[in-house]
Structures are given as C-alpha cells and as structure tokens.
Symmetry: C2
Subunit: 373 residues, 2 copies
C-alpha cells in the first residue's frame, strides 16, 4: 500500500472517525483505525462495541494512490503524528507487511501496525426504511432529549432515546423515570419505525454532524441504525427491549400556568442552587403567592439559605401554591428551550409539571416533583 | 458589621485572595476568608499553610461601611454568591454573631459564618531589606525558573527557587538535580539576601501580579517573604536549609555550539517525542554529523520510531557527536526563551550541556544527558 494525501484533509477525516475509537484495553484492535486504499479511494474505519464510523476520501487532487492495500494503525498515535506534522502532503507506505512509513517534509515515522485480521468485519448496510432529515433538525432533537436519559444501567432501556415514527409523525422521547423530554416533528413521507438509540451514540453523532446546511439519511434495521452524512457513515447498535409507553404521562389539565423570562428564571434557580449539593438531592422550593409573586428558596443546614424573588410575566390563575423539585433537572430542562419565554404548567403540589416554550412548539419537558415537609 | 460594596470590585479582590484558600479538610477555618471592616476600609484575608494574601479595599465611592466588625465566611460559597449575583451593589450584614445576610437585588442569602477566633493571626510585617522590582521582571524570573524545581519531597530544598542577592546582582536558581535554570539581573541598590522560596508560592504569585506597569516591593525576613503589589499583600513561608552551590556546575568550555531556530527545534522535538512515554523516561537522541546536518531520533519498541532532520543555523565546530536526553526537560527549557534563535552548547556526550538565547542574555538552562547504548 502506498499513497500521498493532503495533510489537512486527512486530519479532518481522522478526527471524525476517531469518535469511534475504543479507549479501553480489553480489545486492543479496537484502538486502531483501519485504512483501505482501493478504487482511487481511501476508507478510514473505526469501531468500538457501540458505534462504527467510516469516512470515504476520494478527492483526486488531494489524494494519490500508487498501490492499493489494507492496514490497521494505532489510532491515537497516527492522529498525533498527522496533527504534529506541518507539511502540506503526507506520504504513506507499508513495509514488511506491518510497518507503516510516514514521510512529511523532513520527518520520518515508522509505526508498527496492528494485526489487520483481528479487525471486526463491519457492514454498513442500507435499510428499506430511509428517513431524510435536515442536520439542523437532527441536532435539535439530540440536544433537547439525550440529557434526560438515565445514567444507571439498572434499566438499560432508559439509557437510550426512543425514536418512533407512526405515519408522518416522528416522536422522540427520553426519560430516566424522574423526568421526561419529548420532541416531535412531521416527516415528508410515511414510515413505521420504533427503535431505541443509545444516548451516548447520539451525542457522538451530534459532535460530527456540524454543517447545518446538509442532509442526514437515517437507515433503521432491527439491530442497528445507520446515519449517512456527507462522506461519513455513522452506525450505532440499538438497545433491545420495549420503551415504556409514555403517552399518558403528560398532563393536559393544569391548576395554573406561569410564564417566565427564561434567562431570569435560570439565573434565579442557579443562585438558589448554590448551597445544594450536587452529590445528593439538590432540591429547591418554588412558591407562588396569591398576589402573583414567586419565591424560590433552598436551605442547607450546614451552609445557609437562599431566597430569590422573581417576576412572573403571566399567570393563568392566581393561587397559593408550593412545589419542590430537583434544581438540576429544572435547569437541564430550561436550557433545552430556544424561546425567550417559557411557561411552567402545574397540576398539583406532588404531581408532575411540564414546561413549554412559545418558539419550541413541538417540545415538552416534564419533571416529577419531590415531597418535602 | 454592615457595609455596601460594588459587586465587580468585591469579586476581583475575592478572586485574588482566593489563591490562598485551603482546599484540604484538616483545618476547616483555612477554607474561610476573613472580612474586616474598619477605618472606612475592608480587609479580605485568606491563608493556608504556605501563603497568606490580604487585599485592602478603600474606594469610598464603591464601598460604604455603616458598622465596623470582623467575620470569617466560607470562601468558596461566598465567592460563588458574589459571582452569580448580577446587581451593581451588594449589601452585607451580620446577624446573631455568626449569620451573614447578603442582599443583592431580589436575592437574599443567609450564610453561616466560621468561628472567627480560630482564624490564624497573620502579621504582614515589612522587613529592613526591601527590593523594588518591575512586575514584568518578576514574572519573567518566575516563568523561566520554577518549572525546573523538583516535584519530589525527598530533598525539600530543591522544591524551592533560590533567590540570592550579593551586592547589586540578583541570582535566581532552580534545579531538580537533573536540570538547572538560572537567571540573574542587576538591582539599583546593594542588598545581601539568600532565601529559598517554594516554587508553588511563586506560581501563585505570578497568577495575581498581572499588570506589567506596576512595581512589586519584596520584603525578606528569616522565615518569610512578603510581596506588596497594588492593594495586595502576598506572603509566603521560606524553605529552611542551604541551597546547593551551583556556581561551578555551569560549563564554560564547549566542544561545539549549535544555533537553531527555536520554534523549528521545538516542533521537531515534539514530533520526536510522540512515541515516548511521559510516565517513564522520554529519551531522545540528537546526532550532529560532520557535514553539519542534525538528526533527532527516538524509538519505542512497541509503537515505532521517529527520525527528524533539522537545519542548524550555525555551528562553531563541525564534528560527529551524539547525545541523549529527556525530551521533556529539553522542551521545558526551550520554551523558557523569548529569543527566536537559541544556541545549544555541548561539552561532551555524557556531560551537561547548556542553552542560551540571543535576547535572553541573563538566562542559562542546563540539562544533564543520559547514557544510552
């Protein structure tokens, strides 16, 4: 194998593929990047047990293949070499089956390759179900839901995000059973899909798909989802099992709905959370008074107490009402809105409440309150 | 105690004082900031076992004291409160001896104070020996020497930086016994001082003295050094003991002196270090050939090998010469120079070599090579 490639182009593609590099020792081969030179193209592939990424480089002005071949290089070191190199082009050649020579200006690297036969065989297969979506929409969906998934492995299904399409409606739901994030949108064609995608895979995908003007093609098969974006293939395993039915959880009758300026509310909650302990329960109390004043308070016996007053913009019904909840969950939810104003809809002092935003019409955030004395 | 103060002014001074806050549990009182309101001034003091910092605020337009007093507040929480507050001014009052009320706009904090009688009594006393120095010079001295101190506590004296003044010459030396950094400068008056200052204290000081236009006053007494800078007092303990005499260590006769472009040399060394292991010895080999070419190489049996060729700018004597040394030590030393060109002066394959720079006339970096087969 022998080729010459533009340094910046190679680095960019290596960075994308590197998201799938394994950092764990159990399978050393998964710390490698597979490089295939064939058909005037270069394929870079990395895979861990969760995701696989393949990048295809074909630009004939920036890539010149002299001899085809396959090799697996140690990912971390190969990327560092390319990153530290300042030359315009890099020459790449394989000697003695398993030594890679990398020449860049007056630098000369010999890198021991990994055993290529150990690299997993990965098929990036298209499915019959192909959903096309604007990258901007996909990023929104990911950013506004994944934070609400569970970190605990005790109910594995809740560590994923449910994507279900019934006809033209795509509904995306994440929940850790104490809070829930739900976003929906309408697609151009009809589909029937119901899958649960690992939250971490979606966050990895979100870091790679950066150019909002592009489209993403999503392929769903029974055990995996494939995302096609520009010259990249991003594949993730799916989580097996049935996602809980959450359609009846979201209340529709409210005691009162209170509209706030989002940023003022976030600042107040952040100050009220200063003495809460992130390790344990970070509970704050919100009190609405009959005269339409709102008070946010929290107490920590060791450190002290905070009391915040905040202006509400509108209130559908004046009443005396107190509720307690996790300030972290509330902040996570508030920060998922793009709207300047958000409305918190309360159903009772120990019943779940929801948050909506005027410019986030298809987004609902739900939080379970806690009972405090 | 009762006062009102400008929020930005308070935060700035708290940030400076916070460098001396202890983060360790053994003495909880040292996690506190002492606040004294008297004589129309506010004194903020923090201290750990190494350094003590006091900040004096006197601006009558920005500080209004209604009632004098003393209290010790939990440093971390107090700073977070002030940081998260958006109001122009903050009201501060003490209730029931040990509860601090902090009012800012519509936020109301109650903070439990620490037991003020436990706070150490710190005297920031002037000494007879007062050296005045431009902040820029002090920062240069710190930046170019502290990195060469020892991290090991086995010879405590080497964890400090030696400041000695004999007449008008100030000589600053740091060494971990494998490398040495030495900088000198001439003072306006004559002094006789010989102290060893903890390296970490100097790094802390460097982070606080930021405005190059100002002067620093240095006071040396037998057990501590006091730095006066703007409205700040920064005091550090000294390290007890005798610093090794290093005056004979620096060679003056050289086999050959080789001049390099500093940034090219740094890039080459960084690439040659890619396969070295930061945990173990990161040894690279430098070879000068009779034809005035220079080669830098390193090998790691597991990963591979690197060979770099680099242009030398000048060479006092052409010869065949090979030397091996720690790439980390060499990079640390090179980066301490402001010059575009640096000269490496070799005395022998297993003898210490030194580095100088054309615009760093008073700076010498010395490195001990290692013996390799």
């Amino acid at each position: 194998m022998k080729f010459t490639i533009n340094r910046d182009l190679l680095l960019l593609n290596l960075m994308n593929v590197s998201r799938a590099l394994s950092t764990k020792a159990p399978m050393p081969i998964l710390t490698g990047i597979k490089i295939e030179a064939r058909d005037n193209s270069l394929f870079l592939t990395a895979s861990n047990n969760e995701i696989s990424i393949q990048s295809l480089i074909q630009d004939r002005r920036l890539l010149k293949i002299e001899e085809e071949g396959v090799i697996v290089v140690p990912g971390k070191y190969f990327i560092e070499i390319v990153r530290k190199t300042e030359s315009k082009d890099i020459d790449f050649a394989v000697f003695e089956e398993n030594i890679v020579k990398i020449l860049a200006d007056r630098s000369n690297f010999s890198l021991n390759a990994l055993e290529k036969d150990n690299f997993p065989i990965i098929s990036f297969n298209d499915s019959e179900t192909v959903i096309k979506m604007d990258v901007g929409n996909l990023r929104q969906i990911i950013r506004k839901t994944t934070f609400a998934t569970s970190l605990s492995e005790s109910r594995v299904i809740l560590t994923g995000v449910s994507f279900s399409v019934d006809g033209r409606k795509l509904e995306v739901v994440a929940t850790d059973s104490f809070r829930l994030a739900k976003k929906f949108m309408f697609l151009e064609n009809e589909f029937f899909v119901s899958v649960v995608i690992p939250s971490k895979s979606l966050d990895d995908l979100n870091r790679i798909v950066d150019e909002v003007d592009n489209m993403v093609e999503m392929h769903f098969s029974p055990t995996k989802a494939l995302f096609k974006y520009k010259n990249l293939l991003f594949q993730t395993r799916l989580i097996d099992g049935t996602f809980p039915n959450t359609s009846n959880l979201i209340p529709t009758d409210f005691l009162t709905s209170v509209k706030f300026n989002k940023n003022e509310l976030i600042s107040s909650i952040e100050r009220a959370s200063l003495f809460t302990n992130y390790d344990v329960a970070n509970i704050i109390k919100l009190t609405i008074h009959n005269d339409k004043t709102v008070e946010i308070a929290s107490t920590n016996n060791e450190i002290g107490a905070v009391k915040e007053e905040i202006n509400l913009l509108e209130c559908s019904k004046a009443l005396d009402f107190q509720i307690a909840f996790s300030s972290k969950y509330f902040l996570d939810a508030l920060k998922s809105f793009d709207s300047t104003e958000v409305t918190v809809h309360f159903t009772g002092e120990i019943k779940p409440f929801i948050i909506t935003g005027e410019y986030d019409v298809n987004l609902t955030q739900l939080i379970l309150p806690v009972r405090v004395s």
